[in-house]
Amino acid sequence: MSESSVSESTVSENTATEDTVAPARAATAAGTRTRTPPHRLPAVAAAVAAVVVALALPLYVDAFWLRIGLFAMAAAVGALGLTILFGAAGQLSLGHAFFVAVGTYGYAFLAGGDGGHLTGLGLPPLAAAVLATLLAGLCGLLFSPVASRLRGIYLGIASLGLVFLGHHLLLNLRPVTGGYDGRSVTPFALGGFAFSDASGLVVLGVPFGAVENLWYLFLAVTVAATLVARNVLRGRPGRAFRLMRDSEVGAAAMGVRVQRTKASAFVLSSMYAGVAGVLTALAFQRAVPDYFDLLLSIDFLAMIILGGLGSTSGAIIGATFVVALPIVLSRYADVLPLVVGPGQDGLDASIAAQFVYGALVVVVMLTQPGGLRAMVHAVRDRRGPASA
């Protein structure tokens, strides 16, 4: 068993990285499969340190930065789903925004109450969140007859259609979605504890409002989502995904059922998008249709490309960058050259952010198709080939 798994991973790793260090890396991966590779310890330590810092952050940082963190974590969960689908399984999807919308509106509808022209089921928030995630997965499953028969680029364009159809539905299914104005979102609550300003919690002299409470909820969800994604990518399904990406015929010959594997990658990534949608709903506290357009799908794509395809840490870094860039640029518009705040005459911060990350996507594709993560690997491999 271990023999075959090693050779299988060598095949996929070998073709996974398009740069010249691929053979060396593959050899590293194969040779060190049985013991912990020496370079993984610092990575584990870094991850633990990051979580500790994240746990302490609400005590020291004001709500502005925490709010960016909430959006970044919501986006990171979505990006993890896309990196499984595109980075590992090689299925380009531009329909991610649609599944995020399903999660957001699913939660808003299931947890919301009746009021005015809106309807809602008024379920407990946790049940609503879980059901909204399953609903997104179900939508992915319904689309999988199309998704599993198409290859990479074709799927990219076909899934583009989902975003436009989804937007149309959001505008027109008024009792559920609230139409153009959207609908407000019921705050999350668990066992009588409300994740809102009403919680009245004070920790070490810091009053915990909605943002601080949600921070811990989001952190827990993000860490769990990351661990699941890592296990999927490192385990048997991840190997099947990569093998299928590199050669469908090869994968089929190794006993991977290609259509089924494609469909399952699609469903899994839709469910990640659904979780991201629920988190987005909680962070915004309102769901509006215009947020879920093609640009959101492209944002997700940019996140995983900048971070490095198929890498969980890359997805998180990329998500943080893409989410934080426009907000930070707009906050410091007064001190930054060229950039101005919204409504002023000049280069708007959100447009400036698009310039930056669009250009970065182009540069990354030209210089380092593996993204940030491959850059780190390349530097490390060059620095210490003896230790590998």
Partner: protein, 296 residues
């Protein structure tokens, strides 16, 4: 009956414009295997240049300028960016065009904002009475002119040496290269051609009855993506068919919006994607696309 006929002619006209956009898209794909996600923003850039300069230099000169700008941009994209990527790495090339699209769209959003610029074409605002039918002059010119353009393109592909080189390198890139065909030149020409076709179609899309050049032109042009998929991504005939199908269906549905109210407002804008998904369920490689096969 008259109304249905008018709708049909309008639909064919819109469909022919889609066909031009889709043709450029498919030509690039066939020649270089790149899916150009920046195609719609190339189109918007072209008409923007026309609309922004026509007041000063006149419509004809502005149109030429728009064509030249987009042609050069397409050439630069191919030469400076895409040629630096391994030609078998199709995903990387497609993503690069997505990045380019983000930058171009941001710039055009900054310049256009909510404005609608008049195109200033000499045929704007005029209508023609053809027997019982009343049609915008744009529609008449499109229906008469675009088939000529497509015919010329076909002649170019079948009769000239460049066309032969193009078809040979599409059929078998390595064989063509061995026979002395310069693949670089073929792909550069394909990109320039696509840019020119997009701008031409853009001028049509921004003409009366459309109010002028605005950001919404780009979302109209994006409907060329489903058109390409419907026709089959690698078929020139399919590109024309897909464009026509999308155009006619869109106009017919939008024209009967009142009786289709149960589908929601604005169904005309998204019906192309519905058709695409139905076609894909039936034929995964489009109506005329070559069936995918793998050799083991």
């Amino acid at each position: 009956m008259i109304r249905l006929l008018e709708l049909l002619v309008n639909g064919v006209s819109l469909g022919l414009l889609y066909a031009l956009i889709t043709l450029g898209f498919v030509i690039v794909f066939k020649a270089t295997r790149v899916v150009n996600f920046a195609h719609a923003s190339f189109l918007l850039l072209g008409v923007y240049v026309v609309a922004a300069t026509q007041a000063r230099i006149g419509f004809a000169a502005a149109a030429l300028l728009g064509l030249a700008v987009v042609g050069l941009l397409a050439l630069a994209t191919e030469r400076l960016l895409l040629s630096r990527i391994d030609r078998h790495n199709h995903h990387a090339m497609a993503i690069l065009t997505i990045g380019l699209n983000v930058v171009l769209t941001a710039e055009l959003t900054r310049r256009l904002g909510e404005h609608v610029l008049p195109l200033g074409a000499p045929w704007d605002g005029r209508v023609v009475d053809l027997g019982p039918l009343t049609l915008p002059l744009t529609v008449v010119i499109t229906v008469a002119g675009v088939p000529l353009l497509i015919g010329g393109l076909t002649a170019l592909l079948t009769l000239t040496g460049w066309g032969l080189a193009m078809r040979a390198s599409i059929a078998d890139a390595e064989g063509a290269a061995l026979a002395g065909i310069r693949l670089r030149r073929v792909s550069a020409t394909a990109w320039v051609l696509a840019g020119l076709l997009a701008t031409t179609a853009g001028i049509g899309l921004a003409s009366f009855p459309s109010p002028g050049v605005s950001l919404s032109i780009e979302s109209v042009a994006i409907a060329a993506f489903p058109a390409a998929i419907i026709g089959g991504f690698d078929s020139l005939g399919g590109a024309i068919a897909g464009g026509l199908i999308v155009g006619v269906v869109q106009v017919l549905v939008a024209g009967h919006q009142d009786s289709l109210a149960f589908l929601g407002l604005g169904i005309g804008d998204v019906v192309a994607y519905l058709v695409m998904i139905v076609v894909l369920l039936w034929r995964p490689s489009g109506l005329f696309g070559s069936k995918e096969f793998s050799r083991v």
